[in-house]
Symmetry: D2
Subunit: 357 residues, 4 copies
């Protein structure tokens, strides 16, 4: 496995769905950063299960304990920051581990690691993302003084698309759907699927403002490459687009280019990234999320012994991943940007070089 | 900049559009691999400019010289393989460097590095990708004995979409468009744009067969994350999707899951990657490519001194990026997969552990 | 800071001397490894404080809790292994933090991080190494089935040098001094220093047998480079030598070369590493360790406000670092070797390459 | 192999003793650095062969060509800098490749890569280091405006030890021996060995002044760990010590500690590194170098088929490695320090954090 993310703001996560705990170690933080635990908790609460009819009923307080990295005065001391979140409602025994669940990692993990399915997916469970959100909260705190803000919200739930996305409304909606007028239809979409033992997909938009121009490291560390990789590391994400994204493939160059003014691009068709670098305009990405694979409907599968069987996934699941995936998408954006924030400055500075060997 | 890709099959590329040369160093190759130079050349030829009316007329033979890494018998010796490709038709002086080109890296590079635009974009030019294709050819040779095959081709050119993609036909088409019947319409799409001093976008599909099940390194090195990052490192790619991708966000779980049989998934809606790991079925990705930003039509811009101006990009450019981007997309897929091929085996093996300190 | 070690067997450590806990996350383990907790505990016990008159009296049980990475049957599941060790006898308030301690990190940390001295040195304390020993124990378990064994012991304590080192005796000696006959003199050396409020240096030898020939990654990952860097990451190590080491600088080539037989080198002047690669013979390194900087004798120093002062270091300290540093040196050797064990095989294999693009 | 060094100032080297060329790519350079080619050449000239009776007579001009990374005005443009040095006097056929040479990498490379000995050692030849010196010259130019200066010189040649090292004299001495009065004895030591078909060892001291306090990344990136690993990556280095190094293992704490004044340590027993961080005082390291393994005297060996034989190494070799290894040691110190120079600043800065999610 590879559970390490980042070059400068290095994030190592650990923990399994029904193990003792989840956690994260962040290496590379500057010293002196005040880290209010309540801000970290606020972000964790945004992805907590059990808070609405549209998310898993698992009861987890998701309280973070800081094990390392803070000086007496509540500021970082330059040492690695370790955060621990105990599992409180783990129920490994509720899970069927003799059958592979379609759409899950069970079968490919069996091939790769030789293990029969772990309870609730083990490390491949969405529960793993609680550690990402904790790390994202730290990144948010570090980046906040720059004026950087990140928000993610659903712009589509099943076949219901938001017409004029309102991120503030999304924070109040149990599906995190960003359109107040269409929210009832989105809720209906999910309820219908639930009543049929099924689940729905979604589109989550991530919007980051306040990123200074010039972040990104071409050619392989282009900002789209880093963010794209980060978003695709979230389970269930099947497509990612930046700016006008998909639509651009059917455009003409004269439609797609953003004209330039003295302060840079005047329009933002490019979604805040040009030539792999941030432009100072809002970074906009959309993540296309597949429907939750765990469904009550009967599906064809096989047992760990290779015998044909059927499976109807029990356990506690989200009928639509959008409301809990959105905070994870924010977190991955923030972690990625924190990493670039700590990159060395590579700006041309005409040093008066008096070189002497 | 970050011009290094990969962990095990480490690729470092260098070179600029109008500098002396481009090249790549590959570190981490096993010894004993026979590397026929003509196979590398064949891949380079597939992205060469100057070969059709639909690509840049720049005349570059793109001949690779091997500087290091081969033993006398033409096999790798375990040392880094260095490949050099001299620029033969560099014309730095043809380029306007007092104005920023819309849609290019000129302006953000100026902010990041403090440099006025480099001729032809310098390092940010598509010419940089010749080194990727050379590295991809080496990866292809290494992976070939496994039965692994990679192909990329256009499934849309502007508004013309391929109906039944035929990768073999694509290899014969000057736009690498994969539908014989609709090819004339695709050509027309590009010619119309050219005649109007404009350019068109495209969708390139990458299809890799023969990848064994179990490649990928969750959670941050999921196969989609690695490939997604690799594809987004190619300039002009604005969206990436895997398998049924985008379409899945509007599906139900019962439609999206692939049922399982004794040999794994029976259908391939997931595009060959499930839980971040390969499933043994074909890996299918689609790259949505923006229209070439260099167009003859007049656009609003500013000079390096911040004065408003207009610009009509001269130089030698491709009216549609698909035919030359496809080999680059293949190369990035192959390099990424070569990297996973060299990952340590993590399969459960019940060792008879007699541990003694 | 950089608290991450290794490429394949990735070890991230965290924790401070008087914080809540220390710990380690190990990423990259194969699945299926049986990890008996008692073996990990046995290694932790070997560096525990409080067990003899020659080590710090701090009372720490150093019990490890596994938070992640084990499947139900007590074997690794391929997920990151997280180990936690709570501090039980932390006494932050006993420590003077208004004065810089000579020979410690206090002053350079103040310059780098802007922090006044942390209790007991915070992250720079030797206590940090408990996490390394936990990781080393895991590495030992993984490498043990290969027949690989690592031992470290003191071959000099102050001015007393072992004449015929006996690693087995060292395990029974409170100073881990490897010469039974001279042990009383070594003990006397330390007691005299203690009675004078002073400390003594030592030389620790690390001996690893059972390493297969061919481990190492030239040119920058030569085995001496990797092990040398690992040993120098242990505080107080001021010199490292391999094989006949130092002595070789005054030799002739004809004395220094090991003649070769059909199975490789016949003698082991090179200390098990030649051309940066293991030779199959025992790897032998010696670490020259400075005397403990914390001493009761009065020394010149300054306060955090830059005022001249004197300091007599209180707190709980080891008069000689050898007995507790030896297990850490073993651990670093094991972690480093575990990393090479997981490197891809680069042996020439004449593949029947039928390359087809 | 692992031919990549560094995290921020990333150096990838390539090339073999009797291949077409050697070279280096440096990734991560800031833009705007003026890189006078003559300064690079001056460093290359310092390790060139053929310039005195005490070094290999191979005739290599070692002229560097810059392939990438410079803007028109001779300053770096932020892109990877690629430097190429063609082999002009390669004579692969002069080399015996049917026998393993004792003390060389031939035998372990055969085990690891399955290759019979490469002419002149191939990649394991000292010739590889020309690329390191080129990279070191670039690092020197980058660090020079800080006032940083690095020098390496021999403080012992065989059994002759310098009494009062004078680095300036060393630059004029064909052995780079640092003691004018004892130089004739050092020359005699080498000549006697040469006349007997033998070689001698040496001790090379590296001294770097002008390093600001606070460089280094504890715990695994301590400055000794990074520099120690860098020095041990140079073939023939068998021991490395910092500051008073070895001597400290026999000292008392009260002798070994450097007292502190308002500007930091007053004395420099610690050799410029304390707690893994630079202190602002000169960094001093000593490298103990084995005698050249290639000697004319007959030695026992085996053929590639495992048959006992004798070997008397022909080819062109250095009777003492000191004069040519010293510039390489400087280069490795400079490259390592360049890497730390580009690390993110981690100093406590009391930001007025108004955090808002």
């Amino acid at each position: 496995m590879s559970n390490l993310f980042g070059r400068n703001f290095r994030v190592m996560t650990f923990g399994e769905s029904h193990g003792p705990a989840l956690g994260v170690v962040i290496d590379g933080l500057p010293a002196g950063l005040r880290l209010p635990l309540e801000l970290i908790q606020a972000d964790l609460d945004r992805r907590r299960p059990g808070l609405s009819p549209y998310v898993s009923p698992r009861q987890e307080p998701d309280e973070a304990e800081i094990l390392s990295g803070l000086a007496a005065e509540g500021r970082t001391n330059g040492a690695p920051l370790a955060l621990l979140i105990r599992n409180r409602d783990a129920r490994g025994r509720d899970y069927e581990t003799r059958k592979f669940r379609p759409g899950h990692s069970d079968w490919p993990y069996f091939i790769k690691y030789g293990l029969r399915p772990q309870p609730g997916g083990g490390r491949s469970s969405g529960r793993e993302t609680v550690a990402r959100v904790a790390a994202g909260a730290v990144a948010r705190i570090m980046l906040s003084p720059l004026g950087l803000r990140a928000r993610a919200y659903a712009v589509a739930v099943g076949r219901v698309k938001a017409e004029s996305p309102d991120p503030d409304f999304a924070e109040t909606d149990p599906l995190r759907f960003a359109d107040r007028d269409l929210a009832p239809r989105a809720h209906q979409e999910v309820e219908t699927a639930m009543s049929e033992g099924d689940s729905v997909g979604a589109v989550v938009e991530v919007r980051v403002t306040g990123v200074p121009a010039g972040w990104g490291e071409p050619v392989f560390g282009k900002l789209e490459a880093a963010l794209g990789g980060a978003f695709f590391s979230i389970g269930a994400v099947r497509a990612v687009e930046f700016g006008e994204g998909l639509a651009m493939s059917a455009q003409r160059g004269s439609e797609a280019n953003d004209p330039l003014g003295p302060e840079g691009p005047i329009t933002n068709r490019h979604g805040g990234i040009m030539g792999g670098l941030s432009t100072g305009l809002p970074i906009v990405a959309r993540l296309h999320v597949r429907p939750t694979p765990s469904i009550a409907r009967e599906q064809r599968s096989v047992t760990v012994d290779g015998q044909p069987t059927t499976i109807s996934t029990s356990g506690r699941h989200d009928p639509c991943l959008a409301p809990r995936l959105a905070p994870v998408a924010e977190a991955m954006a923030l972690i990625t940007l924190a990493d670039f924030h700590l990159e060395p400055n590579r700006h041309y500075v005409a040093i008066n070089q008096s070189v002497e060997a």
